[in-house]
Symmetry: none
Subunit: 231 residues, 2 copies
DNA sequence: GCAAGTCTTAACGCGATCTTGATCGAAGCT
DNA sequence: AGCTTCGATCAAGATCGCGTTAAGACTTGC
């Protein structure tokens, strides 16, 4: 049983919204609703939903304006729900950035299945959870604190961002270039020695024996990774 | 104009294949074709297409067997094309791992648009799958680890890259020049001696009896290849 | 303007890895 | 058989990459 996700429903028809709300709620999804383009954009920024269900006929204009208003990287996947089933409409919407297009009327189980498809791709652009935990290491982004086995430790800004990058994909190796580019900016991809110094500092703070790291592992010649705790 | 990608068409109807082939070719996509489940799986391994168009009614069984035969990480995105439009069929296919589901008959422009959708997610390029498996040897690129029968083994950077090159096209012989050029750079194509030393090291690590290799085979006078497991 | 904390930069030691040369065996040719 | 060629193996030296330390420059808050 997957945990439900937050779904933003954008439609000006209250009937449709209620139908979708109950359907989604019945399968463990939290819903947020919007009736106009402006509300939709605002809700995406505010709630960072995992999926957006978007009707095209909105009172303040074409629903695709929502897609154009936000760059693809900071936009949740959008499934268009439209009464119009013309092939041309679908092509326009898909090319505008929609992930899928369902023609009304559609069945609830198909909609739920298509939501599962975009959710399982997940990761990607979806916002990282506010609190990450990898083994004994817990990163609380809103509070900007890191605790290890419950004990709070102080990290410098760079150390925090390094650890955050690694914790977003536990087990995966991040290359030197990736880390440098994310933390110091794309112009710093050459300065691999930055990493050595700051990784050493990180290890001193969060490893029991910094000389034999258990979590912050080096992949020689490639990069670093945070060990994924056995499931 | 985006560069076309390789598309695998899986359908037992020659008419359908020809229609899709010409449609796709007209939009810059190279096509590969398969008529059975076995052919499809083989073609995915061999050609690593960027997308698969999958018909469900194949002579040797349910087309969804293709999805079940390959783990999600080493499988290109699949768009199901089916004559059956029942909601239940769609849900089953989508939950089995398909990225999209089109009911025949469909329009060419919608199909092309939906192909563009899955391609833009994958970065457009037909990248090698993240996880490769050849016989008991499994290469996990994001984690940068190699396991053999589940046991993790440590490879040096050069060994890892050599094995990766070979595993990208199991069964095919890579010449000395190709391997040297890929791993050491184009200026090193003369130093065939490097290969002997590092291949020996690789065999020590992943062959049960390095003197009689089962997987890392020498093609005398030509190069090396990784044996393709019987399908 | 001072002080604490943080980041950059350089130098050094160490272990892992790569290169290089020598030796041995197998296969093919004269 | 003897020679030649190619591949496998081994070991030693050279090199590379990483961790560590510390000093100076910079930022930040008081």
């Amino acid at each position: 049983m997957t945990a439900g996700s937050t779904v933003l429903v954008v439609d000006d028809d209250v009937q449709v919204r209620r139908f979708l709300r109950t359907t989604l709620a019945g399968h463990g999804h939290a819903t947020v609703e919007a009736g106009t383009i402006a509300e939709a954009i605002d809700a995406i920024r505010r709630f960072q939903p995992a999926v957006v269900l978007l009707d095209l006929g909105l009172p303040d204009g074409d629903g695709l304006a929502v897609l154009r208003a936000l760059p693809a990287e900071q936009r949740p996947p959008v499934i268009v729900l439209s009464a119009r089933g013309q092939e041309g409409d679908k092509v326009v919407a898909l090319d505008a950035g929609a992930e899928d297009y369902l023609t009304k009327p559609f069945g609830a189980s198909e909609l739920l299945a298509r939501i599962r498809v975009v959710l399982r791709r997940g990761g990607g652009t979806a916002a990282t959870p506010a609190i990450l935990q990898v083994g004994p290491i817990r990163i609380d982004q809103p509070r900007h604190t890191v605790t290890i086995d419950g004990r709070e430790i102080h990290l410098t800004p760079i150390e925090f961002r390094l650890l955050l990058e690694l914790a977003r994909c536990p087990g995966r190796v991040l290359t030197h270039r990736q880390l440098l580019s994310e933390v110091w900016g794309p112009s710093a991809v050459e300065h691999t020695h930055y990493l050595r110094v700051h990784m050493a500092a990180l290890r001193r703070k969060l490893e029991a024996d910094p000389a034999r790291p258990q979590w912050l592992l080096t992949e020689a010649g490639v990069g670093y990774r945070l060990r994924e705790p056995a499931a």
